[in-house]
């Protein structure tokens, strides 16, 4: 049994080295790593798809959102709308990726538009929230 495994693993190492080479060749199109990853995934059989984890994270974040929003005081509901709007612009992450490394010029273009739009939101959203919140004052005495 041990020999079979040894042989298999040797072959695997070879394959791995070859794939690495291939991947290096494709530096401009990083899709290769992905393909190799998939093949490996099928092999390891029992490994859990990241989707499941992401879904778990999503579900728990909904619970957190539910509780955290109900705990917001009604007097701050307008800032709440502004700040959730501001944070929803984390989508900037996708825009940055597109502008930063997209192989296709078209994709980079879309990314650039997205980046500009969402930057309006990031700065506008947080700053307007800050402006609003700065106005809430206690009685000074």
């Amino acid at each position: 049994m041990d020999q079979t495994l040894q042989k298999a693993l040797d072959q695997l190492d070879q394959a791995s080295a070859a794939v690495r080479l291939a991947v290096q060749n494709m530096a401009t199109a990083p899709g290769g790593a992905e393909a190799a990853g998939n093949a490996a995934h099928a092999m390891s059989g029992g490994a859990i798809d990241p989707f499941v984890f992401r879904f778990a994270i999503f579900v728990l974040a909904i619970f957190v959102g539910y509780y955290v929003v109900w705990s917001v005081t009604p007097a701050l509901h307008t800032p709440l709308m502004a700040v959730t709007n501001a944070i929803s612009s984390v989508i900037v992450v996708g825009a940055l990726l597109a502008v930063g490394i997209a192989a296709s010029g078209v994709a980079a273009g879309f990314g650039f538009v997205a980046l500009m739009l969402v930057s309006v939101n990031i700065f506008g959203g947080f700053l307007v929230t800050q402006r609003m919140l700065a106005m809430y004052k206690k009685k000074d005495k």
């Binding site: 709308m81 929803s88 994709a107």
Partner: protein
């Protein structure tokens, strides 16, 4: 940067966003919360840059994009009037929606860069997640544009009812599903853009039948949508910050919509189906002659200066007239004269949640003088004067007493329990719900007809005599 470490940092920024919302549980912690939010965003951006290591040229583009957008955003944030917040939020949502569409397009055109497969061989799962993201994003975009136009008065607030719209919407919905299936099968860019187009149209059709005054619920719902779109793209990009934030924003918008509908005692469905609330419904004229006691600024000044306790009830009209600063001045005069002054805020006073609180805060009214309905409603019985300024529906006793009223069951501020009730508004017209307010004709009520700001200023002057 190591992918694991990057994911960890994205988690950190997600947690910082949670802390940002958590801060809003109290005014004193809210500013710090907003700071957490900014730090979280900074971490997300820095991590992505470290992960992508763009070339110098691309880096330049990024800086340019951030600078242009950031500049516009910062200027807008500084210039916008507090009374225009509903419009601003709607406009901002539309940007997020459009950005989601653009990001999805970029992913379709350069799938390798996003690690979702290669051109012609994108993972089916990623395609499904992306088309959900893009559809919701596009609906958010056009929907928010319409909401913005209606709120900003650039488009009539009247519901626009197209015949057979339910049928058209259903057809578009089915078409969307078919297109998504097609996209997964063919990965055709044309199909992608068809999805975008169908969703853009759907966004318009869904929102135009909804009356201008229901727009706040719509804005909040679209906020929720933009969250779900972000989460869907988060799945595609495998990005924890996006998934967590999407879920947060999604829940937040949904809960705010729910709170508003409950405050108005209407069902969410009836709001979404539209047709409610035209521009300014005329006062119901049932032919019965009813007498109204009208007063002057001098009367009001006299009454309040001799009162022990005055409760101020602001409403939408105060926002329209921008009367908050004058109001604050008036309250200062009263307090200087030893009168106990409090503010009572109905959960749906104005046109968006917390609308009145922001305006009062803008005018430097300390938040510990401002009370919510359940905390102050019992105090009206001990108040000498209820000063109702630009509010109407939220004081209408028919919501409490008249089972046949369309707003029956909505909680109201019991201003009729105060010894005298001063009503500042321009006419005997009705408010948002278009229902006559019987309070105008009651004995203890004195109408101060005029613009809220001018009238309050006159009262302030009269107090000096």
């Amino acid at each position: 940067m190591n992918a694991n470490f990057a994911s960890f940092l994205y988690l950190v920024s997600g947690v910082l966003f949670i802390m940002a919302l958590r801060g809003l549980s109290h005014p004193t912690t809210s500013r710090q919360g907003n700071l957490y939010g900014m730090i979280g965003m900074g971490i997300a951006i820095a991590t992505t840059l470290a992960l992508a290591t763009p070339s110098a040229g691309r880096f330049g583009l990024i800086v340019l994009g951030l600078a242009i957008g950031g500049g516009v955003g910062a200027i807008t944030a500084r210039r916008i009037a507090m009374t225009s917040m509903p419009q601003l939020v709607a406009a901002f949502h539309s940007l997020v929606g459009l950005a989601a569409v653009m990001v999805a397009a970029a992913a379709i055109y350069a799938p390798e860069s996003f690690g979702i497969g290669t051109a012609g061989d994108i993972h089916a799962q990623a395609l499904i997640e992306m088309s959900l993201g893009v559809a919701i994003g596009a609906i958010t975009f056009t929907g928010s544009v319409i909401a913005f136009l209606k709120l900003d008065g650039r488009m009539s607030g009247k519901p626009i009812m197209i015949g057979g719209r339910h049928f058209i919407n259903a057809a578009l919905g089915i078409a969307l599903i078919v297109l998504i299936v097609l996209l997964v099968g063919t990965e055709s860019k044309l199909v992608f853009w068809l999805i975008v187009a169908a969703s853009l149209v759907l966004g318009i059709l869904l929102i135009i039948p909804i009356g201008g005054a229901d727009m706040p619920v719509v804005v909040s719902m679209l906020n929720s949508y933009s969250g779900w779109a972000a989460a869907a793209l988060g799945f595609t990009l495998g990005n924890l910050a996006l998934i967590i934030t999407g879920a947060l924003v999604g829940s937040s918008g949904a809960i705010l919509s729910y709170i508003m509908c409950k405050g108005m005692n209407r069902s969410f469905i009836s709001v979404i189906l539209g047709g409610f609330g035209g521009e300014t419904a005329a006062a119901a004229d049932d032919g019965i002659e009813r007498t109204v006691k009208q007063g002057s600024a001098d009367d009001a000044a006299y009454l309040m200066m001799n009162a022990q306790k005055v409760i101020i009830v602001p409403g939408y009209g105060m926002a329209v007239a921008q009367a908050q600063h004058a109001l604050r001045e008036m309250a200062d005069k009263l307090k200087a004269n030893g009168v106990d002054v409090k503010y009572a805020i109905h959960p749906v006073a104005g046109r968006m949640p917390g609308h009145m609180n922001v305006l009062l805060a803008e005018a430097n009214v300390p938040y510990d003088e401002v009370f919510e309905l359940e905390d102050i409603n019992s105090e009206f019985a001990q108040a000498d004067v209820a000063y109702v300024i630009g509010a109407n529906d939220v004081t209408n006793p028919s919501a409490r007493d008249d089972k046949s009223s369309p707003i029956y069951g909505m909680p109201i501020l019991d201003v009729d329990k105060a010894r005298t009730c001063l009503f500042v508004k321009r006419s005997l017209g009705s408010g948002y719900a278009g229902i006559d307010n019987t309070l105008f004709y009651k004995d203890g009520t004195m109408m101060l007809l005029g613009d809220a700001k001018k009238m309050t200023e006159e009262i302030v002057k009269a107090m000096d005599h």
